[in-house]
């Protein structure tokens, strides 16, 4: 197997890995603040993709332009979901709260999946723009424009998120809530509002990943579970609550999967899942996490 095939595979892996990272960052944020794993995250990603698709089909808006509006719509939906479904759980005992949020997320994923089938049918859809096929070549390797843009976008968004979390008061409030919610409350931080906005943010981030998927790949109602699993794998790899690490872990996962396609073909998904189980079992704080987290 020559170097070019390897390299090309790696490139594609990094591109999709950036998306994995973006998808995971939202999940990680929500987990940090609310200490719950939203298993409907993939469905929120899917809805973001469909929002972009709708903007494109009905209004002919370029997907990169409708990225923010789609994300905003999902931001609102996310906040609404939090207010209606998860905030009643806030008063409960920790263990019950986590279990019930898992269950509610699960219920949501089924509902959204079904809703999507009803509205858009079960077929695959994709946003085809003029420049869908464009790309450039470097050292004999192909860089499809859209996928490359997707990676750039993911990096920009995550950088913006980082700035938000470190430089703004509300961002710091989110981090404080993640570290010690009681103390955060004692600072005058409205935990309820913070959780609601965080959940909305998580949904918005998922939606942005979904937008890129709709242009660069394809969307269909059943895609939610697959993406939720990918995000879960990355989040576990990076260490729960580790937002910066999520991007790196995502790219890593994408690269590993892509390259392993060369060896095990369609079983590359299994590779990711096996790594996931190993990390869960042996190093639950993740590759980048600290012991005792």
């Amino acid at each position: 197997m020559n170097l070019q095939v390897w390299a090309q595979s790696l490139i594609f892996g990094i591109f999709v890995g950036g998306l994995y990272g973006l998808a995971a960052v939202g999940l990680s944020l929500v987990f940090g603040v609310m200490k719950m794993l939203n298993v409907a995250h993939g469905e929120l990603l899917m809805l973001g993709g469909y929002a972009t698709f709708c903007f494109f089909s009905f209004y002919h808006i370029d997907p990169f332009l409708s990225l923010l509006p789609s994300a905003f719509i999902l931001f609102l939906i996310g906040m609404g979901l939090y207010k209606g479904l998860f905030s009643p759980l806030a008063k409960l005992h920790e263990e019950v709260k986590i279990k019930n949020s898992l269950l509610i997320g699960f219920g949501l994923s089924l509902i959204f999946h079904n809703l999507a089938i009803r509205i858009w049918t079960a077929d695959e859809k994709s946003v085809s723009v003029l420049y869908s096929g464009w790309g450039f070549s470097l050292f004999g390797l192909r860089f499809p424009f859209i996928r490359f843009a997707g990676l750039l976008l993911a990096m920009i968004v995550i950088f913006a998120l980082h700035q938000f979390l470190t430089k703004t008061y509300f961002g710091k409030a989110i981090r404080a809530t993640t570290e010690n919610w009681e103390s955060a409350a004692l600072m005058g931080i409205n935990i309820e509002k913070t959780s609601m906005v965080s959940f909305g943010l998580g949904a918005a981030l998922a939606a942005m990943a979904g937008t890129i998927v709709s242009v660069g790949y394809a969307i269909y109602p059943a895609m939610g579970l697959g993406w939720t699993l990918k995000a879960l794998i990355v989040v576990v790899l990076a260490g729960l609550g580790n937002i910066g690490g999520a991007f790196v872990a995502g790219v890593l996962l994408g690269a590993v999967e892509s390259v392993s396609t060369l060896f095990v073909g369609p079983y590359m998904e299994v590779v990711g899942l096996v790594i996931f189980l190993l990390v869960l079992e042996l190093r639950p704080q993740g590759l980048f996490g600290k012991i005792g987290e």
């Binding site: 719950m36 794993l37 298993v39 479904l85 009643p88 759980l89 263990e95 986590i98 279990k99 019930n100 898992l102 269950l103 509610i104 699960f106 219920g107 949501l108 089924l110 509902i111 079904n114 809703l115 089938i117 009803r118 579970l225 699993l229 879960l232 794998i233 576990v236 073909g265 369609p266 079983y267 998904e269 299994v270 899942l273 096996v274 996931f276 189980l277 869960l280 079992e281 639950p284």
Partner: protein, 322 residues
């Protein structure tokens, strides 16, 4: 959260009598009707009862929510299908399905059950997906019965197989729920730390629940392989089966004996009602009911019924006391 009601002996006899009557009626169904669609619906109900009850033992009683139930259903199906296709008599191939599932559970149980709560859930999901993807790629074809066999395919024995299996699974859950084993499981569910402190071997309880759960899921899979004429080999590994079990159990009443039965019944009814007009609507409806149950009525339909009953008896004593 879940109460097993201590029944007075009057009540108990009533339910036993009722249960026996229902079973008798079910047993007579194939003799009373020739309508295959009706029989198929009953079979589906029994199948879901098995699937849900086996999941219920692990999640409702031992408190471990597994999202990988389909793995065992699939393993049972594949084991039974292959053994049967290779010429082994069905009465051997069928239990073998359960055995394969249990062996797998015993192996993965050790690492898996070390994971707590949500990690166990996503871990089992990951595991089931690994199996599914593997089968999807190693056996991408359809498992179909040979033509000459299809000609002699008889629905009736399959009906009784599912009926008997459902009865056994329900009886098992009933028996476990009232046994010392069941008490141990519930202790783990309610407060694992406290259980450990009072000397309960929490790992053993979880493992036993896991084994029982997977065994019956495997049997259900084996029955499925016997029943379904042709299907993609990866179908029984699809997470949809797990999700169905969750929906059914929770809406019916998790941690109760009757809950999954009631849930399965309504699930299939809804499915049939909407099959022509809105296929898959039953999943949507149950999804919403599921969320409502989690938020408002943790005991599911069973709890709702008992609440109504209490309201009614309260009214009665208020108004009509002599």
């Amino acid at each position: 959260m879940n109460k097993e009601y201590k029944l007075s002996s009057h009540r108990r006899n009533f339910f036993l009598g009722l249960g026996t009557a229902i079973i008798l009626i079910f047993a007579l169904v194939p003799l009373l009707t020739k309508r295959n669609d009706f029989i198929n619906i009953m079979i589906l109900i029994f199948l879901y009862v098995c699937l849900a009850q086996s999941w219920n033992i692990l999640a409702g009683y031992a408190g471990q929510v597994s999202l990988g139930h389909a793995a065992f259903f699939g393993l049972g199906a594949i084991a039974t299908r292959f053994l049967w296709a290779w010429g082994y008599p069905f009465f051997l191939a069928f239990p073998a399905g359960g055995v394969v599932a249990v062996v797998f559970a015993l192996i993965v149980g050790h690492p898996a059950l070390r994971l707590k709560g949500i990690y166990f859930a996503i871990g089992t999901l990951g595991l089931a997906e690994i199996l599914r993807i593997t089968i999807e790629n190693t056996l991408p074809t359809v498992a179909s019965l040979p033509e000459d066999y299809i000609a002699t395919y008889n629905l009736i024995p399959r009906y009784y197989l599912f009926l008997i299996l459902a009865i056994i699974v329900v009886a098992m859950v009933f028996w476990v729920s009232r046994s010392k084993l069941g008490l141990g499981m519930v202790a783990v569910r309610e407060d694992e730390e406290a259980a450990k402190a009072s000397g309960v071997s929490t790992f053993r309880q979880k493992m036993v629940a896991f084994a029982i759960s997977s065994f019956f899921a495997g049997l259900a899979g084996g029955a499925f392989a016997f029943y379904q004429v042709s299907y993609y080999y990866e179908l029984p590994f699809s997470p949809t089966w797990t999700f169905d079990a969750l929906l059914i159990t929770f809406v019916g009443g998790v941690g109760t004996v009757v809950g999954p039965i009631v849930g399965a019944f309504f699930y299939v009814i809804f499915k049939e009602l909407f099959a022509r007009t809105f296929p898959e609507l039953h999943v949507f409806v149950f999804g919403i009911l599921f969320i409502l149950v989690v938020l408002l009525l943790p005991g599911g339909l069973v709890e709702m019924v008992s609440r109504i009953r209490r309201l009614v008896t309260a009214r009665k004593t208020e108004t009509g006391f002599c």
